[in-house]
Amino acid sequence: MSSLVIDSLGRPQRILLIGGTSEIGLAIVSSLSTATTEVVLAGRDAVRMAAAAGALADCSAGVQVFEMDVTDSSGSSKTLNEIFTREVDIAIIAAGALPVQAAALADARTARSALEVNGYGAAAALLTCHEQMRNQGHGRLVALSSIAAARPRPSNYIYGAGKAMLDFLCRGLVESPDPRVQVLLVRPGFVRTKMTAHMPAAPFATDPATVAASVAAWSNKSRGSQIMWVPAVLQHVARVMSLLPLALLRKLDR
């Protein structure tokens, strides 16, 4: 078994992306990866991951692909254990799905599926990676939450409920840190991706490259566990939103 640690210039040797086709996740991997970095993609869609692996070939030392469904508790735990037989410097938890709110409300199975992926599945993956990193003695964990987790909004509270579970758990890891593992909880606002292409952009919309640059800046400076809003101004927006009367929030969310 070989073991890996991040070098003095911030260069990781092995990065894991859970949610291996996530546009934001892949942008983060690209921004952290160098010609000597091995990349591991873990996710449900092998075909799309193979395409992503091809795109990453030039900026990495090789890409491994693992089929894994975070909602399959025992399967994903087994796969993660296999991945961690070689150490992972940085793991990014980007597994998630954005359901259409109306459809999720109309069909409990759709809602449950969204809650399982965004909430339970992502949170379980986060905890497994955290445990593996504690065992290996070092590591950096990046969890992608969302501003949707800040306050239930009529348009996306089912998605937000799942993300809130991940967010709350990850906040716990940030606020009660284990010194061996640095945790970054990322709370992006509206990010322009394929997943959101059918929606009108919200104020302070950003793109995957901007989120990735913020994560890379954190990783390169190794500032320790923290919560990061992207863009940073959203921290204040979220604070204001939490104070808004419900009636006004409903109006704004139309």
């Binding site: 070989s2 640690v5 210039l9």
Partner: protein, 461 residues
């Protein structure tokens, strides 16, 4: 207490602490214990958690870090036994500094002294450190007669130069076991002073020629101004000398002081601003340092501290680089690779890296250490803040150039070399890996450097 059971120790001793190398980069956490005897070291090894001995933390990169593991601090294992003819057996936790202070008044001196005296004897062996006398006397391991080591099976072994395990341990970066004591041959000296010659040089060729001319002296070294360009490119100050004869006294200090080595005069504060050392301040320092050196002077009497350890006068000087930390890049290329040496130096000048500690030295033949750094040739050392633009690409490319020239990068300084460069630079790596696996089959001893460079892997087919 008969053994070192970390679980029974006070919780305060079991808290995770943050460690970095001297370059203050890549922090990781570990628990630290201070065994007081070989038996306690054996107990710790038998418990089998990932561990490493950390000496005085002067290796620049991650060689003395063990992420998530146990660091054995041997500062309490500093026994000293005199034998005949300048032979001493010392605890691995003793510093070169303490040994100089004890031995020099009795007419003996350490055979090899690195650029700082704050180095433990165990660390000096593990990194096979060199000094200004390498071209004549070789590195530290060449003067070690016996090593007492606790291997990965928890067995105390005495290994000598006729045993391959000895040469796997000399330069083995602490990964073959916990060095707990060693027997060394010291060299006789007639005074506690140095007789020093200085030549101020005008350019790179002049520096190289003057340093070659100084080969006949026991000690020699050149400091270079790596920011000067044009006709002054490669200008520097060459100093060489030997221990002064009996009766010699410094012109500045007429008293034979005790202890021999001076205490630091100032300490750089913990929160030193990063901007203190930038291209402009370092260029100014380099220029002043060059101009204040005599054009040519012989027979100046200097103290041991002044000659061997000038930077020890400033405690925690590494903090001057601020929170960003720095990389020290040291490589050696064979004598024949003179043009590569010039080419690499010119690349550093072109990149205008703000290094105030750029040092060129001559190496004599290497020893039998499997991972020992020195080979006959030229070694250049440069300090580079980590925020120099495009530093990763510059150093990666310099690695390639060094390896292609038959040279190598010093592991005790390294914090960023890609692992795939190692087999080319250290052709006896596989043999070392075999020996390491034999001495530590369970992989108890581990460092961040070892993990980064895959030194804990099984030998390749």
């Amino acid at each position: 207490m008969s053994g070192l059971d970390v679980e029974k120790r006070k919780p305060s001793e079991l808290t995770w602490q943050r460690f970095t190398g001297w370059g203050m980069t890549s922090p990781t956490v570990a628990r630290e214990v201070q065994p007081t005897s070989t038996e306690e070291v054996i107990d710790a090894v038998l418990q089998g958690s990932r561990m490493l001995v950390r000496g005085l933390g002067r290796s620049y990169g991650d060689a003395a870090q063990c992420a998530g593991g146990l660091l054995l601090n041997l500062r309490q294992m500093t026994s000293l036994t005199w034998h005949d003819d300048g032979i001493v057996t010392v605890g691995a936790g003793m510093s070169v500094r303490d040994l100089i202070n004890i031995a020099t008044p009795q007419g003996w001196f350490v055979p090899v002294s690195p650029g700082t005296s704050w180095v433990s004897i165990g660390g000096a062996i593990a990194a096979d450190v060199h000094g200004k006398n390498h071209h004549r006397d070789g590195s530290f391991g060449s003067h070690v007669l016996r090593i007492g080591i606790v291997d990965g099976n928890g067995r105390y072994c005495e290994i000598r130069p006729d045993d391959p395990r000895f040469w796997a341990t000399v330069g083995g970066m602490g990964l073959t076991g916990a060095i707990v004591d060693a027997t060394l041959q010291l060299i006789p000296v007639a005074s506690a002073k140095m007789s020093v010659s200085t030549r101020r040089t005008q350019d790179f060729d002049d520096t190289v020629a003057q340093l070659q001319r100084a080969d006949s002296s026991r000690y020699s070294v050149a400091w270079l101004d790596c920011l000067a360009t044009g006709s002054a490119c490669g200008r520097g100050v060459v100093t060489f000398g030997d221990h002064a004869p009996a009766g010699a006294r410094s012109t500045r200090d007429l008293r034979m002081s005790s202890p021999v080595l001076a205490e630091p005069k100032v300490t750089v504060p913990r929160w030193s601003p990063s901007l203190l050392l930038n291209k402009h301040t370092v260029a100014m320092f380099n220029s002043v340092w060059h101009k204040r050196a005599p054009r040519s002077r012989d027979g100046e009497v200097q103290s041991i501290s002044e000659f061997f350890h000038p930077l020890d006068a400033v405690a925690m000087w590494n903090r001057a680089y601020g929170g960003r930390g720095f990389v020290q890049y040291q490589f050696v290329v064979p004598d024949s690779a003179h043009e590569e040496l010039r080419s690499i130096f010119l690349r550093l000048v072109k990149a205008q890296v703000p290094s105030f500690l750029t040092v060129l030295k001559r190496f004599g033949p290497g020893n039998s250490g499997f991972l020992s750094f020195p080979i006959a040739g030229w070694t250049l050392t440069v300090d580079i803040p980590t925020d120099v633009p495009d530093l990763m690409r510059l150093l990666d490319s310099m690695d390639q150039q060094v390896a292609a020239a038959g040279g190598r990068v010093y592991l005790a300084k390294d914090s960023r070399m890609p692992a795939q460069m190692l087999p080319q630079m250290y052709p006896r790596l596989d043999a070392w890996l075999q020996l390491r696996n034999q001495m530590d089959p369970r992989g108890v001893f581990a460092s961040d450097l070892g993990r980064r460079l895959h030194l804990a892997n099984a030998p390749r087919d």
